[in-house]
Symmetry: C2
């Protein structure tokens, strides 16, 4: 297996895009290739994620992006795994490059749903859940994660302030991220005063619907021995699944797929959680960040909320979590999210994260969940 | 790169499915695993294709299929490349297994659109084309392929009987395929008397909308040294793209992506077209089969129609083409099509093709096109 790097990365500002998904994806892909000091003709495979492209009446978007980049002959494929689509695309790119099937590959994730009304966008999102047993019966993600949040609170007796601390921290980080959807801090009082969406989840427990596009370039070390920016060495690229529908799971206070993917990743990278300097985790709802930190082994079960209240996971804390602002405040354009986590880690490694720069950038982890955990990807990145 | 085999394969009868896509996919996947003499727990990665799963309100279908198979922890991903989705999924499975990232992988393609009306299904299909420049302006695939057919006829002066011979041959083959959508032969008179759909294409130039599911199991030779059935050795797995929208192409009498993928595949397998014993090609419209045979180098430009009239490509001819009945008559459930071509080659290699059995099964080629050729996959299979 060849040593494989992330050598370039770019994102647009998450929120509401005026341009189409294909236009945004092409523009951001070009910026990522530029940041790597490469040209489009160096790309040998394109992996696109655009789970709900049909909302723009467009499937098969890879050839359109490659044509815009001037490389129409390059093979492309679209990779879908609900909200973990572009981390799954990164995994495919990793396998192609590490396995010697390509020297350089492009991963680009994009989603645009803002032209739809809230009912229609919610319906698209809900397709990541189990239609027959969940979404057909009216379940959407706020309700499903509210079920997880209720179970978590019941089991661990945690207080609303612990969930609130996640929201306050991630909004504070996003306020220092010029590409974030929400760029203003909130207070705990704002959190506690916000309306209930699906009990116990309040408005500020929930990530927004965002449009957005993010891209990364993956290359073999031997292809680019002197990269234009400090690369991320892919120390682990691991994925796992779990029972998709929640009513058949043995536990509702954690995600089995996170645990399985995390164990695989730590084994592959030959590191322990204590060695990780900072993380981007999948905080589609505040409880998701808390569960992720526990499932990945960073805190004992029931302790991650308290640690958040204590500032351990602040961008200047002992273990910064979601310095980008996370899905919660940076935004969650479904298929761009996994790639965007890697863009943040790339910016942090290169010292370009401005006010949200974390103190140590030796080893970082990205954790991306599909739906309520039917799928999970964990990547670990280190330095040359 | 490890020697990699197709060790199991199964399909259902194409046409109209009463069950849901996830149910059909799970059932067929289990049959494919059975045919390999394996159990679900032997599968290490699942690659699903289901381009228009949203028509059933279901994205993220991999975890549902894996859960039905009793292997929820196994990672899954959905692969989309319009009508070439499941051959693109096979390519990913090949890369994982040949590269040593998995010992055995499942590829399952499924599509169900028959619960929609024709306008809605046509709209889904058309999303494989370029929305901004083609489908938004009313172009659907019969119209786009009619443009290719007009250009072909004009350049080569070919007669309607040449397109008709493709339809007659493929219906004759499908009549001997118990899994085909259409199981009755047609005559040239029936073809010539059928209504014009998009001039010059008649009803019998066009493949049907079909529901269907097909699955194959890919494994490393060393994982399964004594397979339960005669395996297909994957001699080549190649993909290419081209300018997606037709108005920007240099030629309309062939598909650049087919030529590029074909050249890659022949180079990888180290064989010449003359060594191939039979083929499954992408005949979504009759002209597509003719162009494919020329683009792949089996006949000089303008000669494949005449060869079809002369019986060269009949199932008992010198170079059998689409012994399964092809998309034209076996049916075209978008994301199941690429895998179904491999199912046919597996049955032919194992001598299970009944009345449509081809005389020689040493080397076979599968050719699968995305939309009007924005993507193309070519696989070449040989014997141990």
């Amino acid at each position: 297996m060849r040593e494989t790097w992330v050598v370039g990365a770019a994102t647009n500002r998450f929120g509401k895009m005026a341009e189409t998904g294909r236009e945004a994806a092409s523009r951001v892909a070009l910026a990522a290739i530029d940041s790597a000091g490469l040209e489009p003709k160096d790309i040998e495979q394109t992996f696109v994620s655009n789970a709900f492209g049909v909302a723009e009446r467009q499937a098969h978007v890879g050839p359109l992006i490659n044509t815009a980049l001037g490389i129409p002959e390059v093979p492309s494929v679209t990779i879908e795994s609900a909200c973990s689509s572009s981390s799954a695309a990164l995994h495919e790119a990793f396998v192609h490059v590490a396995g010697g099937f390509a020297d350089a590959a492009l991963v680009v994730g994009v989603e645009k749903l803002s032209h739809l009304d809230t009912f229609a966008s919610t319906s698209y999102f809900a397709m990541g859940a189990d239609y027959a047993f969940e979404s057909r019966n009216g379940a959407t993600f706020p309700g499903l994660y509210a079920t997880l949040a209720s179970a978590y609170r019941r089991e661990h007796g945690s207080r609303p302030e612990e969930f609130g601390a996640v929201a306050v921290k991630n909004h504070a980080n996003a306020a220092m991220n010029p590409n974030a959807h929400f760029q203003r801090p909130i207070t705990l009082d704002t959190y506690l005063g916000s309306p209930i969406i699906a009990s116990p989840l309040r408005l500020y427990d929930c990530c927004p619907f965002s449009d957005g596009a993010s891209a990364i370039v993956v290359a073999a070390r031997e292809r680019l021995p002197r990269p234009a920016a400090e690369p991320l060495v892919i120390r682990a690229s691991a994925r796992a699944g779990s029972v998709a529908d929640m009513h058949d799971r043995e536990t509702l206070t954690g995600l089995p797929a996170t645990r399985a993917a995390g164990l695989k990743a730590f084994r592959m990278a030959k590191v322990e959680p204590a060695q990780i300097d900072f993380l981007e985790v999948h905080d589609c709802f505040t409880v998701a960040e808390i569960m992720a930190l526990e499932d990945l082994g960073f805190f004992p079960k029931g302790h991650a909320g308290r640690a958040t209240v204590d500032g351990v996971t602040a961008h200047d804390g002992r273990l910064p979590v979601n310095p980008s602002g996370g899905l919660k405040a940076k935004g969650h354009p479904v298929s761009a999210t996994g790639a965007a986590q890697v863009v943040e880690i790339f910016e942090q490694f290169n010292g370009h994260a401005g006010g949200r720069q974390v103190p140590k950038t030796g080893l970082a982890l990205a954790h991306n969940v599909g739906a309520t955990g039917g799928s999970c990807s964990v990547h670990i990145f280190g330095r040359r």
